[in-house]
């Protein structure tokens, strides 16, 4: 059913756009679903600071969810982790190890060759400002970029949005589920995403990515979410 839907969707897009890109839609629509990684041992190491509760984690997740950037993007709810990772990304379990403020990084918004985006259209680049969250997993550290605002240089400067790392500090030590990104280069939209966090792998997961909130909220524990 899903393949049929994808096929119909790709056909409709091709008809509507009447472009060479239609073949890409068809190709993307038939990507095989990769296997989800098994639960990593790193989850056992997660340990939030004393007193940090699921509510604290929710508050940190809400900072990103209600940001100016969230208002800038039209996003669709993703039906499953498999759907969100079916072009070769992997689902990783780990612990949040570090959070940094980022003031002005290039944002790949302009279409460019070889499937990679560019930040500039021949002038000043499009930028984003927010925080970076390091998640340490067995395979190494994955950095998740969390934009709070995006725009041109003067737009960012005038936005008044200043990343406050302390708003996210409760996440340090939390169990985390991450989907690795599919795009290299200056991007946040196609980069790794933090799906969920929890105080313990046996605790209820807290949704960090609004697109996967329904999937996360349906899982009784982070372990169960990871296991699919």
């Amino acid at each position: 059913m899903r393949n049929a839907a994808r096929s119909a969707a790709a056909t409709a897009v091709a008809l509507l756009l009447v472009s060479a890109c239609g073949s890409e839609a068809a190709q993307r629509g038939t990507d095989p679903a990769p296997a989800i990684d098994p639960l990593g041992a790193k989850l056992a190491d997660c340990s939030v600071a004393e007193g940090v509760t699921a509510e604290e984690l929710s508050k940190a997740a809400g900072v990103a969810d209600t940001s100016v950037f969230a208002e800038l993007v039209n996003s669709m709810p993703l039906p499953s982790l498999e759907a969100a990772s079916r072009s070769g990304e992997r689902v990783l379990e780990g612990t949040v190890s570090e959070i940094r403020a980022v003031s002005a990084q290039p944002l790949s918004i302009v279409p460019a060759g070889e499937g990679r985006g560019a930040a500039s259209l021949g002038g000043d680049p499009m930028l984003w400002r927010g925080v970076e969250i390091d998640v340490e997993a067995e395979v190494g550290v994955t950095t998740v970029q969390v934009p709070l605002v995006a725009g041109g240089r003067d737009v960012i400067a005038a936005s008044g949005v200043e990343p406050d790392v302390s708003s996210f500090e409760s996440l340090v030590g939390a169990c985390a589920l991450v989907i690795t990104g599919r795009t290299e280069g200056p991007t946040v939209l196609g980069g790794p995403r933090l799906v969920a966090v929890s105080t313990d792998q046996g605790a209820r997961p807290v949704a960090f990515d609004p697109q996967l909130a329904a999937v996360v909220e349906a899982a009784p524990t982070l372990r169960a979410l990871s296991a699919g």
């Binding site: 756009l17 669709m76 993703l78 790949s108 918004i109 725009g151 003067d154 939209l189 995403r193």
Partner: protein
């Protein structure tokens, strides 16, 4: 031509009155405190196409801008080439990110302002919609057209809000059958009042 367009859309706008309406003060608007940060610089809304927009699909964008023109006080102004005075540069980007259908980002501000945008870049990923669309939702072409109108709405200052049935709804669209046309429209009077009040 413009008159005929207005007549056509007016009939549809009358039908949308079937949906519950909110007052324009019910949610924030671009440039207002607590609202979406940016709005356009004037009612003349100039737009152009990045080379990534294929010639065969440009009518969808013209249609979206014509709807904005017909529904509100704003004027659709097409520029055959993009320049510093163009208000919107539309671009297709097939690699925006999983589940990301579009984004409207302000690239540069109007002189002396912190909330009036001189030029928006609107990036769209119709392929991403196709990846997640299912036959149980509104038709795919409805989604693709709505996505353009949605992002165009952001360039006027409209926000995502609780409006259940309009172009400003984010995400996948329920299939409303005959009433799927509501996804093509800014809600009247709610969105329309916002725009008409600002420009």
């Amino acid at each position: 031509m413009r008159f005929a367009r207005i007549l056509g859309v007016a009939a549809i706008v009358s039908a949308i009155a079937l949906t519950p309406a909110q007052s324009a003060s019910a949610d924030p608007f671009g440039g207002e405190p607590g609202g979406y940060p940016w709005r356009a610089d004037s009612r003349d809304h100039w737009y152009c196409f990045h080379p990534s927009i294929p010639g065969g699909s440009q009518w969808v964008f013209h249609d979206a801008m014509a709807n904005l023109d017909a529904q509100t006080v704003m004027w659709d102004r097409f520029a055959s080439s993009c320049g510093s005075s163009t208000d919107i540069i539309y671009m297709d980007n097939p690699d925006l990110g999983y589940g990301i259908a579009g984004a409207a980002l302000c690239w540069t501000l109007a002189p002396g302002s912190s909330s009036v945008c001189d030029q928006f870049w609107v990036a769209l990923d119709p392929w991403e919609i196709a990846n997640f669309w299912q036959p149980t939702y509104a038709p795919l072409d409805t989604h693709i057209q709505q996505n353009i109108r949605h992002e165009t709405g952001h360039t006027t200052g409209l926000t995502h809000n609780g409006t259940p049935t309009s172009a400003m709804r984010s995400g996948l669209l329920p299939d409303l059958g005959f009433y799927n046309f509501v996804w093509m429209l800014y809600e009247s009077p709610h969105h329309v009042d916002h725009i008409n009040g600002a420009y």
